[in-house]
């Protein structure tokens, strides 16, 4: 028996040696994170024989012993291995370090940027994770070509305004769609999300990328994925930052007490100061900025862990952020937790992501001209009025002459801003929960075929608590007011798909059929109670009110909306010879918000990428490492209409004399439909000197037609002022250039320099009316959205001090005529972008980012309120000291009096200011501790850094911050963007 076994073995060895020339090689190709690389090419050197990996990264190949195998995959470094005797080859390919190697996550698919015909941008995730901003969207600024990010406020947690390739809509939504791990999330509550959990942020810009979102994709898509665990790599990380923030430079200079008193006396002494009082007031120079602002302290901490075994991986995190605002009493506290789990069992993969976030935002009203906004006090309060009376310790305020009750106001009638800020309460508790699960089944009998279903809910809740103290001027009438409100939004997104991937020789197909449903449900309610006769600032203080005391009867309110979308779509990516890449999308969407006649619409796109540098005729150009051409065309829609209109004729609620009623609310429009976008994109990617220089240039033409438009109707005929409709057209054309260079790369020293520049030109191409004028702006055919429409202010007549205006024909006149208004620029910068550089030497790295917005103008309404001579009982801008007083005065400030046709006019270019700016967005100096030093301490990595946000800003705009814009005017009561400095540490175990 033993013999026979031995003989059998010998025979086997002999047989084996007979076939020694050919080896059957099995293997698996993975990326550095342990993910399978699909479609990697394996071929024998000096031969045409080859194969590619399947969807699990596996391959099977017969090769000659001793031969060399070349393994390539786009985006990865090429690898050559010698086949000696091993028949099992598991290889890890390193990603190439260049812009081309990035993966683009489209939300439905993941493709390498170098294989994708669409225009997209990946934002470096480190820039998002570590910038100390409670709303991550602000961190996108300057980091992606074609993406304009503008902060609306410096209040902690405030959102930015994001525009991808310009404004496409007049009255509809212009914000991008946000997709997190495959589901739609609300854009309004990023303050309760922790960007430390993000793995990638991709911005989809052209139709190839966005048309797979069909009716929601018109304004671009921002796709976020969160961190997942890696196989056999258990990691624990701590990230922490502490720092402070301060008020930026104020470029709108107000009068000091001496100037103000001098000005008042010049204007006739409205308060009838005696000489002695006037003298004493000149010495009080109260700094209202110091009374209301402070240095804010910021700290944030995050602990995260990730890892897993062969079949299960996880990622989990907890974070805490505490950011003081620079306005006293304001700030944000945020707590978040997340857990992501992925499992593989046989042919099934399933996963679950849960995220909970809770934040408390204390804020102050801003961006308005209401007297009782505390932030207006720094402009309007006279510098000789102080916040507190030093003898009584109470707020300075006048008494009602008849009742003797304090008014909460100064003698000017201006509320005491300190009283408004310190006595009122404003906070919002925000909770956000996101839960997503998916199940994937790889069909065993057909290779490359899988079925996937992904469902997720996005729930956000805002609970507001606004207390107006009975001591304030606004609270006196009803003895204070407490408004409590709750709004909640629930949305689910469900996507089910069949995906198939197949390689046939040099042809590679990847595609899927999808069906999707999105349903949104929003509800809100609130109540306001009055009569705070006791000291309570909460519900306990409410006096119920009665028929004899109607003032105290609480008011209640509430509302809700719901809408849904139902979609069917298909995506196909086709690759030929790893040189030609074609992407197709077709989609059909139905939406509840549109007229029954036009509820469904079709969208689609096609795009192509040609890797010209792979062609033989480029082989001899050594300097050229890449040359890719891209072109795409496609359509998308904008579903989010201004008021979530309903297409049917309907009546709304009314009430009169204590009885409810009904009034016609809309005549409906059964033809109401989507806004339709068509985008053409042409781009090329260009790499030189082994990608030491890499540039991407995109030209786009985005046109919108059938804009949402409240068609004005003559109510004399209909009783309605407007009906929901589709009318008009808009066009955005632009060029985006993104450049990365690496002038120096040695073992220890590396210097990178890069940037992106976007030029976007917005034009209204079609409009129902010739011009629609709203206050200072106009909608006009052939001009950009919200162009300023103002009379040209041409200085002051030195003889009589009257303001001069330039007519359309160029003549100077003293008569203000709104008919002479002309179109000026817009607040939307046509030129914007960012430059970045980094220098690293051994463990140190220093990086900086400089952002710019150029060619924009802004109507300075904040200044309007302090140069209007009628408001001289309040404080005024120091420029008013230059006011014309006597013939011969040469000045740019007209005389104060309006008699004789010199009334103050604000619809003029006197208030239109250059609002271009350059801003040093971020500077970071970091030190990565040498691993040799760490390994003894059981630490995997350690990084220490110090960073500054907005340290330097250049602008001519006269306020704190040129960036903050609500719509097209700089309103006033501005909460400036923070200038922050933080030190941080990241430690990995």
């Amino acid at each position: 028996m033993r013999k026979s076994v031995l003989v059998l073995l010998l025979v086997l060895v002999l047989i084996n040696s007979l076939f020694a020339q050919i080896l059957e090689i099995k293997g698996r190709i993975l990326d550095s994170k342990g993910n399978a690389i699909i479609g990697a090419s394996i071929h024998e050197k000096n031969s045409t024989r080859g194969t590619t990996t399947d969807e699990n990264g596996n391959f099977l190949f017969q090769a000659h012993r001793g031969t060399t195998l070349i393994i390539t995959s786009v985006g990865f470094e090429r690898k050559e291995i010698n086949v000696a005797s091993e028949t099992n080859i598991d290889l890890v390919l390193q990603q190439e370090e260049s812009a081309l190697s990035e993966v683009i996550v489209t939300g439905y698919t993941t493709v390498q940027k170098s294989r994708y015909s669409g225009a997209s941008a990946s934002v470096p995730i480190t820039k998002i994770r570590t910038q100390p901003m409670a709303s991550f969207d602000q961190a996108l600024q300057g980091n992606a070509a074609g993406v304009s990010v503008i902060a609306t406020s410096g209040q902690p947690g405030a959102q930015g305004i994001i525009r991808i390739r310009g404004n496409g809509s007049i009255s509809g939504n212009n914000s991008p769609l946000y997709i997190l791990d495959g589901i739609q999330i609300s854009a309004g509550d990023f303050a309760s999300m922790n960007q430390g959990d993000f793995e990638s942020v991709d911005i989809l810009k052209d139709a190839v990328a966005t048309s797979m979102y069909g009716s929601r994709g018109a304004n671009g898509v921002i796709v976020i994925t969160t961190r997942r665990g890696s196989v056999n790599q258990i990691q624990l990380n701590y990230d922490g930052q502490v720092g402070f923030s301060v008020l930026p430079k104020d470029r709108l200079v107000m009068m000091n007490s001496q100037q103000k008193i001098e000005y008042e006396l010049r204007r006739g002494n409205p308060y009838n100061w005696s000489d002695a009082v006037a003298d004493s007031l000149q010495n009080i120079n109260f700094n209202w900025r110091e009374a209301l602002f402070r240095t804010g302290v910021t700290q944030q901490h995050q602990i995260s862990a990730s890892g897993g075994g062969q079949n299960s991986t996880f990622y989990a995190s907890l974070s805490y952020m505490d950011q003081d605002g620079i306005v006293k009493k304001t700030g944000l506290k945020r707590y978040t937790g997340r857990i992501n789990v992925d499992n593989t069992i046989k042919n099934f993969r399933f996963g679950l992501s849960l995220q909970g976030g809770f934040s408390k935002l204390n804020n102050t009203p801003e961006g308005g001209t209401f007297l009782n906004m505390p932030l207006n006090a720094i402009r309007w309060s006279n510098p000789y009025d102080t916040d507190f009376n030093p003898t009584t310790g109470d707020y300075n305020q006048t008494l009602n002459p008849t009742t003797g009750v304090p008014t909460g106001q100064f003698r000017s009638g201006q509320p005491n801003g300190a009283l408004e800020l310190f006595e009122n309460e404003r906070d919002i508790l925000q909770a956000k929960g996101i839960a997503i699960s998916y199940l994937e089944y790889h069909l065993p009998f057909v290779q490359g075929l899988k079925i996937r279903t992904n469902w997720g809910i996005d729930y956000s809740q805002n609970e507001s608590n606004f207390f107006i103290s009975p001591k304030t001027s606004a609270g006196i009438a009803r003895v204070g007011a407490l408004t409590r409100g709750l709004s909640r939004n629930f949305r689910y997104t469900g996507t089910t798909s069949i995906n198939y991937q197949k390689t046939l020789g040099s042809h590679d197909f990847q595609g899927g059929l999808f069906t999707e449903v999105v349903k949104n449900n929003f509800r809100t309610f609130s109540f306001t109670g009055y009569g705070f006769t006791s000291d309570f600032k909460n519900e306990a203080g409410i006096t119920p009110g009665s028929a004899t005391n109607q003032n105290f009867i609480p008011t209640v309110g509430g509302n809700g909306t719901q809408n849904s979308i139902l979609s069917y779509f298909a995506i196909l990516n086709y690759t030929l010879n790893e040189k030609y890449f074609i992407d197709f999308v077709v989609r059909r969407d139905g939406s509840s918000t549109f007229g029954a006649n036009n509820r469904f619409a079709n969208f689609g796109s096609v795009g192509i990428r040609w890797k010209a540098s792979q062609e033989i005729f480029f082989n001899n150009i050594n300097a050229l490492s890449d040359l890719d051409f891209r072109a795409s065309i496609g359509t998308t829609g904008n579903r989010v209409s201004p008021l979530e209109d309903y297409p049917i004729p309907y009546f709304g609620p009314a009430s009169y004399a204590g009885t409810s009623g009904l009034v016609p609310a809309s005549p409906g429009n059964l033809d109401y439909s989507w806004e339709k976008n068509r985008t053409i994109n042409i781009g090329f990617d260009y790499g030189l000197f082994l990608r030491r220089i890499f540039a991407s240039i995109d030209l786009y033409d985005r046109t919108t037609k059938d804009l949402f438009f409240s068609l004005p109707v003559d109510p004399a005929g209909s009783g309605f002022t407007s009906i929901p409709g589709n009318y008009g057209g808009m066009r955005n054309r632009g060029i985006e250039v993104a450049l990365t260079t690496e002038p120096v790369r040695t073992k220890d020293f590396r210097w990178t320099l890069g940037g992106n520049i976007t030029y976007n030109r917005n034009t209204i191409t079609d409009l129902q009316e010739d011009t629609v004028i709203t206050s200072t702006t106009v909608l006009a055919k052939g001009f950009p959205l919200n162009s300023y429409y103002l009379v040209d202010f041409a200085g002051v007549n030195t003889d009589n001090g009257n303001a001069l205006y330039r007519t359309r024909t160029g003549a100077l006149t003293e008569t203000y005529n709104p008919g002479e208004r002309v179109i000026w620029g817009t607040a939307d910068a046509p030129w914007f972008g960012g430059f970045n550089t980094s220098i690293s030497y051994k463990g140190f790295d220093l990086s900086a980012q400089l952002n710019f917005f150029l060619g924009r103008v802004l109507f300075n309404n904040e200044r309007n309120n302090v140069i209007n001579p009628q408001y001289y009982t309040d404080n005024m801008a120091v420029e008013m000291m230059r006011e014309w007083q006597k013939p011969g005065d040469i000045t740019d400030v007209p005389r104060a009096t309006s008699a004789g046709g010199n009334a103050y006019q604000f619809n003029t270019t006197r208030l239109l200011e250059d609002a271009s700016y350059w801003r040093l967005r971020n500077v970071t100096l970091a030190y990565n501790v040498n691993q040799n030093l760490l390994s003894g301490a059981g630490i995997r990595s350690a990084r220490f850094y110090v960073q500054g946000q907005n340290w330097w800003t250049w602008t001519r705009f006269q306020s704190f911050d040129p960036e903050l814009t609500q719509g097209s005017a700089h309103t006033g009561a501005q909460y400036p963007a923070l200038i922050q400095t933080t030190v941080g540490v990241s430690i990995g175990f």
Binding site: L662, A716, G717, S718
Partner: protein
């Protein structure tokens, strides 16, 4: 796919489809209450209709001092066609017209017992709004050329669909007044004598007397005023005991024939908002009363002592307090209309002019007159009804010069809002002078 599509059939949460809203007795009555809601808005009888009249007729007796440009333009007779206050008044008035037309179109579903009342109220509101519009946005009736001067667009059917037929040209001044008289006459015939705080027979008769007075049809004005007085007094209405008691009320005074209900909870009172001062919950005291007005009163006149000082100027006490009812028609006006018309016609229907005028004077704390002249009556009317929205209308019908402008000057007529000119596809013609 069709079952899936049902997911898209979502209705607004706080709205009722049109066919439902007009399908039942209860709902049509709700729509009627909705019409009052619109008419009570700040753009209409919630204040601005009265404000415009007073600002246009300021004549140096009141000043607009507030920061809002829109009322200032009206006060300084420098209105531009895009003035948003002027636009919104026009829009809201036609909103009332459409709601009224909807009610009239669905009147058959209303219970038989209430049909006359509901129809009468809708006609009252429609006729009143046409009247308010024509006397602000068109040349005065007394300017002549009533058959060629453009009036206002007249629409008497509900809007079901926006199409070419939705654009309606302006009728002449004469045609406009004819529709107003027809609406209010029918309303008077249908309305009950009492109707809570809603329009009743006396209110319709009173409004009709105003229309006739504006048309200088004094006999009609006299008779309508007399009917209003007779019906109202029979129903228990009477002059308030003091002049001050006729204002700042939380419940209708016995003197009100029609008033806009305002409470802390509901309704708006723009007269208070602009004429009062922060101490009483108003804005900054946007309207001030000038010495030129105060000097007209006799020193002991209790109507003079109602004025008060605040925020650096003299203020009207009629609009002092917040959340108070806004009277639209007071019984006192009817006595003065009857007196004027009787005097002009040499008649004494209901009472002699002297009796009616002295009734008003005595309540104001003044000695009765022994004999009365037209000037006496008109002065009494001016003082009694000061700052209640009668100013420019009375000045126009009396052909008085206002702020150096002739009573029929272009500048004393509000512009048709530019928005409407644009939206009407050229069918609406702008007023002269704009």
């Amino acid at each position: 796919m069709s079952s899936c599509d049902k997911k898209l059939d979502l209705l607004p949460r706080q709205s009722v489809a049109e066919d439902v809203a007009l399908s039942s007795d209860a709902n049509v009555k709700k729509v009627l209450n909705g019409a009052y809601d619109v008419v009570s808005s700040g753009n209409l009888w919630g204040g601005n209709l009265l404000l415009f009249s007073e600002l246009l007729g300021a004549n140096g007796e009141i000043r607009w001092e507030g920061t809002f440009n829109q009322p200032r333009e009206v006060w300084s007779k420098a209105m531009i066609t895009t003035n948003s206050f002027i636009r919104d008044t026009w829009l809201s008035a036609y909103d009332v017209v459409n709601v009224s037309n909807n009610i009239l179109g669905a009147i058959d579903v209303v219970n038989e017992a209430d049909k006359n009342r509901v129809k009468g109220e809708a006609l009252f509101l429609r006729g009143s709004m046409f009247f308010e519009l024509v006397r602000l946005y068109a040349k005065p009736y007394t300017a002549g050329n009533i058959n060629s001067n453009p009036g206002i667009p007249i629409v008497t059917t509900p809007t079901r669909k926006i199409d070419e037929n939705s654009y309606v040209a302006r009728s002449t001044v004469e045609q406009s007044y004819a529709q107003i008289v027809a609406d209010l006459t029918e309303a008077e015939s249908l309305l009950p004598n009492t109707n809570g705080v809603y329009a009743n027979k006396a209110a319709a008769a009173a409004m009709l007397s105003r229309v006739y007075l504006q048309m200088e049809r004094f006999a009609n004005a006299r008779d309508a005023a007399d009917r209003a007085i007779t019906i109202a007094t029979a129903a228990g209405r009477s002059l308030a005991t003091t002049y001050a008691a006729a204002f700042n009320n939380s419940a209708n005074s016995t003197e009100y024939l029609f008033a806009i209900q305002v409470s802390a909870l509901d309704g708006s009172n723009n007269m208070h908002l602009y004429w009062s001062i922060p101490t009483f919950g108003g804005r900054d005291g946007d309207v001030s009363i000038q010495a030129a007005h105060l000097s007209i009163y006799e020193p002991t006149d209790s109507r003079r002592t109602l004025f008060y000082s605040g925020a650096g100027a003299t203020r009207s006490g009629k609009w002092k307090e917040q959340y108070k009812i806004l009277p639209i028609i007071r019984l006192a006006e009817m006595y003065l209309t009857r007196a004027e018309a009787n005097f002009r016609l040499g008649t004494a229907i209901g009472a002699t002019p002297l009796q009616d005028v002295n009734r008003i004077r005595q309540r104001a704390g003044l000695l009765p007159l022994a004999i009365v002249t037209l000037d006496n009556i008109l002065l009494e009317r001016k003082l009694e009804l000061a700052h209640e929205g009668h100013s420019i209308h009375d000045r126009k019908r009396l052909r008085l010069t206002t702020d150096a402008l002739s009573f029929d000057a272009d500048k004393l007529v509000l512009p048709i809002p530019q928005r409407e000119i644009d939206a009407s596809n050229g069918i609406l013609i702008q007023n002269a002078g704009y």
